[in-house]
Symmetry: C2
Subunit: 129 residues, 2 copies
């Protein structure tokens, strides 16, 4: 990346939901952006944490932890890290735009997951533009 990228412009360049675009690379990590609405799928990343920043809208992340199931709510401008090994399912009733940091090659549906519905893109991220 030799020039800065405006995230609003980048987000306007695609419509697909739950289908992250790689906005930047930082060492062997991706900075991915995605538009989301409705429910993703329960999945787990065995070997990596996953960082979420909500750029617009509201994201919910359901978590299956040792203590039981709960859901965290992320309004615009908030961040959360899902620890490795924790089964989770992002969702957004009203739609959201999000930014994620995770190791390059991390699949969106994790290493283990429920059956992937048609509206969820099982990918390691697409190039931007």
């Amino acid at each position: 990346m030799s020039e800065p990228i405006d995230l609003r412009t980048a987000l306007a360049s695609f419509d697909a939901l739950w289908s992250p675009r790689i906005a930047a690379r930082v060492n062997d990590y991706d900075v991915r952006i995605a538009k989301v609405a409705g429910e993703h799928v329960w999945h787990v990343h065995a070997d990596t944490d996953e960082f979420f920043l909500v750029l617009d809208g509201e994201l919910r992340i359901a978590l299956r932890e040792a203590a039981g199931e709960r859901e965290v709510v992320l309004p615009t401008g908030s961040v959360f890290v899902v620890p490795r090994g924790v089964e989770h399912r992002p969702s957004s009733d009203g739609g959201a735009s999000i930014l994620m940091f995770e190791p390059t090659g991390t699949p969106t549906v994790g290493d283990r997951h429920d059956p992937v519905p048609g509206h969820v893109d099982a990918t390691t991220g697409h190039p931007l533009g």
Copy 2:
């Protein structure tokens, strides 16, 4: 981090300039937030890229590249990665709030730098709150 963090609230919890707070950990990386104004110092990270996202205000990053010196301008909502090995100097005339993603332990002034002025905090990041 067991609960989401609101970045606006987190930024309101400190005043120091050029003195990053660690908002989250992702594997062996930090998500750091900082308030900045004026000039940082020319420095270089030999072994790591450095990711910048401007949350508020405008950031400039001067770069000394093989082709010569130039400056990139990052308005609110834009991102940029300074590649490892590239000498750079962030600045902000009007002040800005930024988010950075870099390996835990990365010093703010790099591995090699000009004399550090008093207003720049040479740190690997402070805990939040």
